[in-house]
Amino acid sequence: MNRAVDPRDLAMDGDGLAKGEVLLEVKNVSLRFGGVKAITDISFDIRKGEIRAIIGPNGAGKTSMLNVINGFYTPQEGTITFRGEERKKIAPYQAAASGIARTFQNVALFKGMTTLDNIMAGRTLAMHRNFLWQLLYFGPALNEEIANRRKVEEIIDFLEIQHIRKVPVGRLPYGLQKRVELGRALAAQPSLLLLDEPMAGMNLEEKEDMSRFILDVNSQFGTTIALIEHDMGVVMDISDRVVVLDYGRKIGDGTPDEVKANQDVIDAYLGVSHQDEGEG
């Protein structure tokens, strides 16, 4: 696979951090929806170059955490520090501009557009030619379009989806849609890639493919990845560190082995009743 891809070509834009330095730090974040406490006082960090899994039972607040990180939700308390910049509130397009891309739990592709256009859409921030050039579709505008098309084609090769290049994504099977969505996120050349259950609803073979893509993205492009996933086998196999949430709280954080041995985590997954739920 990905014979033709030169990793340097698709690597994220330099963020000036060495591998292992803290890329993103979540500090004491709490998020409420009316009376519902989705996230309560959570802190953790994501280091440059790692694959960081976020796990937890249904409704634990995993998706909400991603939504806080990329600016869909503004937490009532706490701060997010990304690439050394602390912020309380950020708009999603600003998060995108600062180098965060993501995929969604329920595929959120542009259904009426082709695979090619969907992945081109991921390059929105790389394209700047103004309205007048766009009207002419000529000169700088055309060159820009072609330069970006070239990048997109590399991603298409990398993900092995050449055959569906011109197919409207609404017509694709679910597994391929998930792959296209990964491609769209990669197209932005993010320094932090958030994946919300990229393997949900996939069969074994598709899961293996997807795991391989995630590992390749991480090792070849140097992209830091935060991954939400329910399949424990996959999580333990591919992640460097795991943070475990339950009922909006952090109950575990560490390497896969540490987390596996953590009694709170075992209880949460075995469904031990939560006596302390009403407090705090």
């Binding site: 999603p92 995108a96 592709l109 542009f110 379009e145 098309r149």
Partner: protein
């Protein structure tokens, strides 16, 4: 058999990104353009030119305008008639204030006034969607109709309350007013429609068009790709209203010759909306299909019965026509919700594999 891209390999991305990547399509477009430019004006009679060809082209442009907003950017609008009116009145004022500037410049400039109006009335789209947005564009429609009636300055204080197009020349040929022949008017309209269609197509296949479709298909994800909803939606409103404004100006200057405020009523908004839906939302070629269908069919229906010897009162004919058109629209929406453009596409796909049923 004959309509096939086999053997037409694309070796560059530029070639692959052409509007018509298939050779046969390019030939087809060239033939249509040739007919429109060099055949129609010489074989058609004055009635065909004035009552069919010219308004068809103008309404197709208005439909493109609405399609940019509704079909591509996903923002429903019922204010098309109003925005066309803004273009028409702006053009009228420009032509009376600066009579020496060529009329084509006025036509193209008048769209900018409509675009500005579109941006203002597009502001609510940042907060509201769907039917609620349609209601605010309806408010725009009524607001402009009110202006056209209540602000006498707009119609130069004419006793009739209508705008009357002055006779203007372009390169020495009279192109507006009662003295203008249908052929010069047709050529001006055709040139403007072709020019703007090409420019819109360019926008649609580039960054800006993609942003519109991203907002249409999944606004949350679009924002996450770095699209700013403010710019994307307002630029769609601006471009859409610009096209509608130019169409409105041409509607008065090259077709109606004079217009009362009622020319730009909600009826026109709906007529253009039907054209867009029937042609196919999100398709440029569909705009021409839709405009042809909705504009030409009633004319045929009215002319048909007397021609084959069935006497029918003009008024009855009008009623029957509305009923037939209405029924056709309903039937069409049920049978092919993606419009005539989709039928056209299916036809082409069939033709590609012909004589076999599958590729």
């Amino acid at each position: 058999m004959f309509y096939r891209e086999a053997g037409q390999f694309k070796t560059t991305y530029a070639a692959d990104q052409q509007v018509f990547p298939i050779l046969q399509d390019r030939i087809g477009v060239a033939v249509i353009l040739f007919i429109a430019i060099a055949v129609v004006p010489f074989v058609a009679n004055d009635f065909f030119m004035s009552a069919i060809a010219i308004p068809f082209l103008i309404l197709a442009l208005a439909t493109i305008g609405l399609n940019v907003l509704t079909g591509y950017a996903g923002q429903l609008s019922l204010g098309t008639g109003g925005f066309m009116g803004v273009g028409a009145y702006a053009c009228y004022k420009l032509a009376t204030i600066f009579p020496d500037v060529p009329i084509v410049a006025h036509i193209l400039l008048s769209g900018i006034f409509a675009a500005a109006a579109g941006v203002v009335f597009g502001l609510p789209s940042l907060r509201i969607k769907g039917l609620y947005l349609a209601v605010t564009t309806l408010a725009a429609q009524f607001f402009f109709e009110w202006c056209f009636i209540r602000i006498p300055w707009l119609y130069n204080y004419n006793a009739s309350g209508a705008i009357e197009v002055p006779g203007l020349t372009l390169l020495g040929v009279t192109v507006t007013g009662p003295a203008a022949g249908s052929i010069p008017r047709y050529y001006v309209v055709l040139a403007i429609v072709i020019l703007l269609t090409v420019l819109v197509k360019n926008l649609l296949r580039g960054r800006i068009g993609r942003q519109w479709m991203m907002i249409r298909d999944m606004d949350i994800a679009a924002e996450l790709m770095g699209v700013r909803p403010l710019y994307a939606k307002l630029s769609a409103f601006a471009v859409s209203s610009y096209l509608c404004g130019v169409a409105g100006a041409m509607f008065v200057f090259f077709y109606l010759g004079a217009a009362e405020p009622s020319a730009f009523s909600i009826t026109l908004s709906f007529q253009v909306l039907f054209m867009a839906i029937l042609g196919g939302l999100g398709s440029l070629v569909g705009c021409f299909f839709g405009a042809a269908f909705i504009w030409i069919l009633p004319i045929l229906l009215r002319a048909g019965p007397p021609m084959i010897g069935i006497p029918i009162a003009a008024e009855t004919a009008t009623h029957v026509t509305s009923m037939i058109i209405g029924a056709l629209i309903v039937a069409f929406l049920i049978l092919e919700p993606h419009g005539l453009a989709r039928l056209w596409q299916i036809g082409k796909e069939k033709l590609r594999v012909w004589p076999f049923p599958y590729a």
